[in-house]
């Protein structure tokens, strides 16, 4: 019974971490512009992230180490510094987008401009991390994030043409606006295969004191959570295809998002959208903030744990405090959250090789994972993800120029 509860909670947590501003925005744009045609990108990204998250969890459970810890040790300081610089800049950008998402939800709810909410939102995030434990953040916020299931209910209620939805899961060439089509596909992949997901997951496994006995549980949680998360993203895309596309709305501003749920649930739909957007982004913002502090502390060998008092790990506490302050600035200065989101998701895709390549080495190193090394299927998938990551790294910038606008 305890194990089942642990798995259920783990899956809920994984879903909570999966859905954030990037996956909502990119899925909505895909549906609004290309109907069901880009579902395959969510499916592909979902398969990739299932494998990466499972491996990150297995690595932590067996070796008792997190990914950044092992990357510094196995690849040396120079590679770690390179990855840290790229990941750091990217995480700050994604964090700004998430804080922007919470602020937009508050703007929709109150009518007060989003940048006015930047400081209160950043302070609230900091306060929860400052006072809360890992369990509070991981499980509390994630359980609240279940409100995003409204998208799934909405998609089912709208009775979409299931045959066309299924056809969308198979990659196909665009019939119009090729550059835009591929740019959105790349953004969806960037939003789905987020490095913060597997870095946070590996630290979480250590915080939750996972051992070798958790290898099976980890597999179920990673697969269940990421699949469930992908289903919610697909639901957003389906709703956008059914409700935004016929109205010619292309999600050029967040104010168009309520149209995903209002036609289904009426006025309640508006509040469900506000709650979904706000809570999903709040949860993601906390995870990204903590992830940055974890990577910093683990890479430099500092004391770290969200379960300790801030004074017992002053550098770790300073790391997340500074991260939140920096992440808040673009929103405070009024940068458009949607532009930041789309830009950061594409950039995530472009920088994937840096954080994915280490998997191939670490997950085959007997000194870390012993008999739990990758089998040929996992290795084939990681090699495919690396190949995909390199393709994305090459095509993202040209697509950003020709299809990003």
């Amino acid at each position: 019974m305890k194990k089942i509860l642990e798995i259920a909670l783990g899956i809920v947590t994984s879903v909570g971490g999966f859905l954030e501003i990037g996956s909502i925005a990119t899925a909505a744009q895909a549906g609004a512009e290309f109907s069901f045609q880009l579902i395959w990108a969510i499916v592909l990204g979902g398969i990739c992230i299932i494998f990466l998250v499972e491996q990150a969890g297995r690595f932590a459970a067996v070796s008792g180490r997190t990914l950044p810890d092992a990357i510094r040790e196995r690849f040396g300081f120079n590679y770690f510094a390179f990855m840290y610089a790229i990941l750091g800049l990217l995480s700050l950008l994604v964090l700004a987008a998430e804080i922007g998402g919470v602020c937009v939800a508050l703007e929709l709810a109150t009518g007060v401009g989003f940048q006015w909410w930047a400081v209160p939102v950043a302070l609230s995030i900091w306060l929860v991390i400052w006072k809360g434990t890992f369990g509070v953040i991981e499980k509390g916020i994630s359980v609240l994030g279940l409100v995003t299931l409204a998208f799934v209910v909405g998609a089912i209620v709208m009775h979409p043409p299931w045959r066309e939805v299924a056809t969308g899961a198979v990659p196909s060439l665009p019939q119009h606006d090729s550059a835009r089509y591929w740019f959105i596909a790349v953004s969806i992949l960037g939003a789905t295969i987020s490095p913060y997901l597997y870095f946070f997951y590996s630290s979480g496994a250590i915080e939750d004191e996972w051992k070798e006995t958790h290898v099976g549980v980890n597999r179920i949680i990673a697969t269940g959570g990421m699949t469930f998360g992908s289903v919610i993203s697909i639901s957003v895309l389906v709703l956008a295809a059914l409700l935004l596309l016929p109205r010619g709305m292309k999600v050029e501003h967040y104010s168009e998002l309520p149209m995903l749920l209002v036609p289904v649930f009426g006025e309640k739909g508006f509040w469900l959208l506000v709650a979904s957007l706000g809570i999903a982004c709040l949860g993601a913002a906390m995870e990204i903030t903590l992830q940055m502090a974890y990577v910093t502390a683990q890479g430099f060998g500092w004391n770290w744990s969200e379960n300790q008092k801030p004074i017992e790990e002053a550098r770790f506490s300073t790391a997340y405090t500074v991260t939140i302050a920096l992440g808040m600035l673009p929103v405070l200065f009024g940068l458009d959250p949607l532009t930041m989101t789309v830009f950061s998701m594409a950039l995530t895709a472009a920088t994937l090789p840096v954080s994915v390549v280490p998997f191939l080495f670490l997950m085959n190193d007997y000194s870390y994972v012993r008999v739990y090394r990758n089998g040929w299927i996992s290795n084939a998938v990681v090699i495919s993800i690396i190949a995909l990551a390199f393709v994305l790294a090459v095509v993202t910038v040209p697509l950003q120029i020709f299809g990003g606008g």
């Binding site: 008792g64 510094r72 040790e73 300081f77 510094a81 500092w302 004391n303 002053a314 506490s317 300073t318």
Partner: protein
């Protein structure tokens, strides 16, 4: 033992198993006619920057010195180390060593002054 594989960049813990940093550098002593001898390991930001670029390392050291901050890394004699599978154990007290200088400064001057830190 392979020095770089088994020691460099490994987690460094003190005698009470408190994390105090990583093995940022290894110092070898060279004497004519004798085999090189491992003398110390180093912990410190200038050691790390030197691994990146020695020119940049010198500039950072000069800048730190001009601000009254010692750029010298903390050195631990090789004899005080025990190389484990996951960590390098140092027979020193981290809180009394320069390795935790910044941690203690932040604790006293910044984090400790914010309500709810304790």
């Amino acid at each position: 033992m392979e020095l770089v594989r088994d020691c460099l960049d490994k987690q460094l813990d003190d005698s009470s198993k408190r994390r105090m940093g990583r093995v940022d550098g290894i110092i070898l002593e060279l004497e004519p006619g004798r085999a090189p001898r491992v003398a110390y390991v180093e912990v410190g930001v200038t050691t790390l920057i030197n691994r990146f670029s020695s020119r940049l390392g010198k500039k950072v050291a000069r800048w730190l010195r001009s601000r009254g901050i010692s750029p010298d890394p903390f050195r631990i004699p090789w004899g005080k180390l025990k190389i484990g599978l996951n960590t390098v154990l140092a027979d020193v007290e981290a809180e009394k060593s320069p390795a935790l200088e910044w941690e203690l400064w932040l604790r006293k001057r910044v984090i400790g002054r914010i309500p709810g830190a304790k």
